[in-house]
């Protein structure tokens, strides 16, 4: 395991030094954790989907997390959360490290390495026990997002006799690896800000959120091509190949949680200035019914990827000297294909013991682009919180 950023190291030292200074008043550390054992396989063909092949493996989503909470004062706590996973697209290490200050009953401020909250389940994607699916719909949750950032967040709650309003905002930065469309990026995100508004009226919940950040990605594979195009004086194409600009996320979530059934939905829209990454809209709608300890659920999810900014054409003569460069550039242009994916998921969750749940689900995925892929995935999971 590694601590991922220098700031996190400073904060870790700071937080725990602070706790040691006040060890007389601090309560005993409280340990808790979560774990998930997930396996799945594609059925009917050899198509690979996400990390699933036609054989059952446990590596893709299985993980274990450990959290420690320390009450320093009645209104100040420190939290650290460590994660370990075998998934090579996911980092093991420190996920949370924050001080949690509650100056008034209705206001809470967090400082440190925090989980992002782009969407409803973004901050607990690793805690499978917290939701009914084995994996929240990829059409929404596999968007270009990162799981944590260094910064500050504030939440204010207004509770009336009839309804509750929660307003939260955050500011920070991020520099780490991100997996998107099966590729690994290492973005440098500055001025990462966001605002979320949640209203609750009995069983009805509405969440609207907006997040944005200035994202800069240095891609080693693209660097030689960019240098070559720079040398032949094609500034428009050079700028189009640079991954540097603003990324914006919009989200609306609506859910109704009755005693033994629920309906949940989320719609998101991703917008940015990049020519090399797709933008698009995604949504899901999910319903479930609980009988005794069993929850049966059905979800439809949809995602449309589109490129609103096409790579400009190189204005170079097709001479033998330039042809390799033109071909390399055009290969990138033709690889940027728009696509549409939708899926149906039918699943069951069995809460057989307090803190333990078994899940099973089957998912049918249809992907249409310049190629068409139809595949089905069956998955099983054991979720545990302790």
């Amino acid at each position: 395991m590694t601590i991922k950023t220098n700031l996190s190291q400073y904060l870790a030292v700071y937080a725990f030094s602070f706790i040691l200074c006040f060890k007389v008043t601090a309560q005993q550390p409280e340990f808790s954790g979560f774990s998930r054992l997930v396996t799945g396989a594609t059925i009917g063909d050899n198509t690979k989907y996400e990390a699933h092949h036609d054989d059952f493996t446990f590596n893709a989503d299985s993980l274990i997390g450990l959290q420690v909470d320390i009450d320093i004062f009645s209104n100040l706590t420190a939290t650290a959360q460590l994660l370990d996973t075998l998934n090579k697209h996911k980092n093991s290490g420190l996920e949370w490290l924050c001080l949690n200050y509650t100056p008034t009953t209705s206001t809470n401020i967090k400082l440190g390495q925090l989980r992002t909250s782009f969407f409803t389940y973004s901050d607990v994607l690793d805690v499978g026990y917290a939701y009914h699916w084995i994996k929240p719909p990829e059409e929404v949750y596999a968007s270009f997002y990162f799981s944590h950032f260094d910064g500050v967040s504030i939440q204010h709650n207004i509770v009336s006799k009839l309804f509750t309003i929660k307003v939260s905002g955050f500011y920070g930065k991020f520099k780490d690896k991100v997996s998107f469309n099966q590729l690994i990026f290492e973005p440098n995100v500055k001025n990462f800000t966001g605002l979320a508004l949640t209203t609750e009226f009995n069983a009805l919940h509405l969440r609207a959120a907006y997040s944005q950040g200035n994202v800069s990605i240095h891609d080693e594979d693209l660097a030689p091509l960019i240098t070559s195009i720079q040398q032949v004086n094609q500034p428009i194409s050079v700028n189009a190949l640079l991954l540097d600009g603003k990324m914006q996320y919009y989200q609306i979530g609506l859910s109704y949680d009755a005693f033994d059934y629920f309906i949940k939905s989320e719609w998101i829209n991703l917008k940015h200035n990049f020519h090399l990454l797709s933008e698009g809209e995604s949504f899901y709608i999910s319903g479930g019914y609980q009988y005794e300890d069993y929850t049966l659920h059905l979800t439809f999810a949809d995602r449309n990827d589109e490129y609103n900014k096409y790579l400009p054409i190189l204005t170079l003569p097709e001479t033998p000297y330039f042809i390799p460069l033109i071909q390399g550039y055009n290969a990138i242009r033709t690889s940027l294909t728009e696509g549409e994916q939708n899926s149906w998921t039918l699943g069951i969750r069995w809460d057989f013991k307090p803190g333990l749940a078994l899940k099973s689900e089957i998912k049918r995925i249809d992907y249409r682009s310049n190629i068409q892929i139809n595949t089905s995935v069956v998955a099983f999971a054991l979720e545990w919180v302790f």
């Binding site: 808790s32 607990v124 509770v159 009336s160 009755a258 005693f259 033994d260 300890d293």
Partner: protein, 142 residues
């Protein structure tokens, strides 16, 4: 226990007009100022958002342990969620560092004892429970 909860829930809707919201009382220590809570407020307090009763006293929920049937009644009548979905909710809150679940007590008597000695602490008991003089019912509103 789940079946019992559903029966309780069914009858709580079916005979509302005859016995309005009287299966559970939410209680707290008597304060200088009289007040009552709405169902929405009790629900929010039990889902982790506290409110100020007075300038000095803030709500702090305590609950009965899972083996206690009164808890199932409370989940059905006031929270409106099954026990397993409440546990999922608390997994979300705890591991996103937002809130922790209420402290649990094994019996109504131990819960009453805590409320008697802790200002702002709120709990629930079966309706018509004989309460000490220092404890008042704050839900349902009359």
């Amino acid at each position: 226990m789940k079946s019992l909860t559903k029966v309780v829930l069914f009858f709580s809707f079916a005979i509302t007009s005859v016995f309005p919201q009287d299966h559970i009382w939410v209680i707290t220590q008597k304060l200088d100022k009289d007040f009552t809570l709405s169902k929405q407020q009790v629900r929010q307090i039990y889902l982790g958002i506290n409110i100020d009763f007075t300038d000095e006293v803030t709500s702090s929920a305590i609950t009965l342990s899972r083996k206690n049937q009164v808890r199932s009644q409370f989940n059905a009548q006031v929270i409106g969620l099954t026990e397993s979905r409440i546990q999922s909710y608390w997994a979300h809150m705890r591991f996103s560092s937002r809130n922790k679940p209420p402290k649990e007590y094994d019996s109504v008597s131990s819960l009453l004892e805590h409320i008697k000695t802790t200002k702002g602490s709120i709990g629930y008991v079966p309706a018509q429970t004989v309460l000490p003089e220092s404890i008042v019912v704050i839900y349902p509103e009359n």
